[in-house]
C-alpha cells in the first residue's frame, strides 16, 4: 500500500494503559502506512517521545499514575518534545472542559470508542 521510502514513513506514538487497545490501534495505524511506537503508561510515553521524537501522539487521558493531561503538560515543558502534536483519544471526550483541552495543547479530542473514519481524518489532518 505504501511506496518504497520506508525510512520517511511518519512515526506515531500510541499511549494507552490497556494493551489490547494498543494492539488494535497499532494495527489500524500500520494499515494507514505509519510506523508505530507503543507506551502503556505516561512516563514511558514521555521517555519514548524524548528519545524518538514522533510525528504525532495518540494519547489516552484516563491512565493510572499519570493521566494524559499531565503527560501533555510535561511534553510542553520540555524543549525537545514541546512541538509534538497530540490527539487525545478518551472515553471522557465530552467531559473535558474547553480550558482543559486548550491547556493540554492537543490538536483534537477523539471520543473512545472511536469511529475509524473520524480517527483517520484527525490523524491525516495532523500529519498532512
Amino acid at each position: 500500500m505504501r511506496t518504497s521510502e520506508t525510512t520517511t514513513r511518519q512515526l506515531v506514538l500510541l499511549v494507552d494503559d490497556e494493551q489490547s487497545m494498543l494492539k488494535v490501534l497499532e494495527r489500524r495505524l500500520k494499515s494507514w502506512g505509519y510506523r508505530v511506537l507503543l507506551a502503556d503508561h505516561g512516563l514511558e510515553a514521555l521517555r519514548l517521545a524524548k528519545q524518538h521524537h514522533p510525528d504525532l501522539m495518540l494519547l489516552d487521558v484516563m491512565m493510572p499514575q499519570m493521566d494524559g493531561l499531565e503527560v501533555c503538560r510535561r511534553l510542553r515543558a520540555m524543549k525537545e518534545t514541546r512541538g509534538i502534536p497530540v490527539i487525545l483519544v478518551t472515553v471522557k471526550a465530552t467531559q473535558l472542559s474547553p480550558e482543559e483541552i486548550r491547556g493540554s495543547g492537543a490538536l483534537k479530542v477523539v471520543g473512545k470508542p472511536y469511529e475509524s473514519e473520524e480517527l483517520e481524518e484527525a490523524v491525516k489532518a495532523a500529519l498532512a
Partner: protein, 338 residues
C-alpha cells in the same frame, strides 16, 4: 417564641442552620409559630380581662389560677415549639440524605458508563479492523458474524451515551450551549441523516418547512439529538407509509412535529412514554427506552415543551414547542426565557 428573621446572626444555643435554605425554613417556622401562639393567647387574655369581666377578677386566688394557667400554656407552647423544630430538622436531614443518595447514584451511573466505554473501544476497534480486512480478507460467511457484532456494539455505545446523558441531566450537569440557530437547518440535517434508513425501510420521509427562517437560541447538537430520537422512533415503529417533519411558528413559539403513519400508541401508554426505561409496543424493537426522556429533558432545558398525540391505528404525532428568540440585534435579550 422569638420570631427572629435573621437566624445566622444570632449566636444562641441553637445549632447553626446547615444551609441558607434550612435557615429560611426555620425562621419562617418561627414566625408562623409565633403568630399561632401569641395571637390566640393575647386574644384570650383580652377577652377574659376586658370584654367578659374586668381586671378585678384577677385579684386574689383567681389571679393565681390565671397566672398558673398562663405559665402552663406558655410551657406547652415552648415544648410544642421544640418538638416541631425537631421534626423539621429530621425532615431536612432525611431530605439531604436523599439528595446525596441521588447524587451518588448519578455518579455511579456515570462511572459505570465510562467503565463500559474502554472495553467497547477495544471491541469496536478490533471488529472494524477485522471487517476492514486488516487481519486478512474475510471469506463470505465470516462477514456475517462480524457485522452482527458491529451492530450490537453500536447499540451498546448508544445505550452508554444515553445513560451518561441522562445521569448528567438529572445531576443538573448538562449545560446547553447558546447558539443562535435556524431551526430549519437542524431539521434538514436530521432529515439527511435518516434518508438512507427511510429508503431502506420503504418509507417516505417528508420535510415541510416554512421558507422564512425560524431563529432561536439553543444548543444545536442537543436539539438535533431531540429530533434524531423522535425520527428514529418514527422510522422504527412505522411499517409502511410516511414520516413527516413539519415546522410552523407563531409570534413567540416554534412548533416542530414529527408525524408518522405507524401503529399509534395506546392511550394508557401515552402517559408513561416519556418515562425512563419505559418502552411501549413490541419489545422486540431495539432501543434503550431513554430516547424520549432525554428528548423531553433537553426540550425542557430550552424552556420548551414536548407532547404526543396518538391513537391506535392512526399514527403518532410528536410536537416540540420551543420559544423563539427575540429579534436579532437586541443585545442582552438572548437570555430571555419564556
Amino acid at each position: 417564641m422569638s420570631a427572629t428573621s435573621v437566624p445566622p446572626a444570632i449566636p444562641s444555643d441553637r445549632p447553626a442552620p446547615a444551609d441558607p435554605q434550612t435557615g429560611r425554613l426555620m425562621s419562617r417556622f418561627n414566625v408562623a409559630f409565633s403568630l399561632m401562639s401569641a395571637i390566640p393567647l393575647l386574644t384570650c387574655c383580652y377577652l377574659i380581662t376586658v370584654r367578659f369581666f374586668s381586671f378585678s377578677v384577677l385579684l386574689g386566688a383567681n389571679g393565681v389560677y390565671f397566672l398558673l394557667a398562663l405559665v402552663i400554656a406558655l410551657l406547652g407552647l415552648l415544648v410544642g415549639h421544640e418538638l416541631i423544630r425537631d421534626i423539621i430538622r429530621q425532615l431536612v436531614e432525611a431530605n439531604a440524605k436523599l439528595a446525596k443518595l441521588n447524587d451518588q447514584q448519578a455518579g455511579f451511573v456515570s462511572n459505570v458508563a465510562h467503565e463500559f466505554r474502554s472495553p467497547l473501544a477495544v471491541f469496536e476497534g478490533a471488529l472494524d479492523n477485522l471487517a476492514d480486512g486488516l487481519y486478512g480478507p474475510l471469506a463470505g460467511e465470516q462477514q456475517d458474524p462480524v457485522q452482527m457484532c458491529q451492530r450490537e456494539v453500536d447499540r451498546l455505545k448508544r445505550l452508554v451515551s444515553d445513560l451518561l446523558d441522562l445521569s448528567r441531566i438529572e445531576a443538573g450537569k448538562l449545560t446547553m450551549q447558546r447558539n443562535r440557530l435556524v431551526l430549519q437547518d437542524v431539521l434538514r440535517s436530521v432529515g439527511r441523516l435518516f434518508e438512507g434508513l427511510a429508503k431502506e425501510r420503504g418509507l417516505t420521509l417528508v420535510l415541510e418547512l416554512p421558507a422564512e427562517p425560524v431563529m432561536l437560541v439553543g444548543d444545536r447538537d442537543r436539539l438535533q439529538q431531540v429530533f434524531m430520537n423522535l425520527l428514529a422512533n418514527a422510522l422504527k415503529f412505522t411499517g409502511d407509509g410516511s414520516v413527516t417533519i413539519r415546522l410552523r411558528r407563531d409570534a413567540h413559539t416554534a412548533e416542530a412535529e414529527v408525524t408518522d403513519t405507524g401503529p399509534g400508541i395506546a392511550e394508557a401508554d401515552l402517559e408513561r412514554i416519556f418515562d425512563k426505561f419505559e418502552r411501549v409496543g413490541s419489545q422486540s424493537e431495539e432501543g434503550s427506552g431513554l430516547g424520549l426522556p432525554i428528548a423531553r429533558d433537553i426540550v425542557e432545558l430550552h424552556q420548551g415543551r414536548i407532547r404526543v398525540e396518538s391513537r391506535v391505528g392512526q399514527g403518532s404525532r410528536f410536537l416540540v414547542q420551543l420559544p423563539i428568540s427575540p429579534p436579532v440585534g437586541v443585545a442582552g435579550a438572548v437570555r430571555e426565557g419564556s
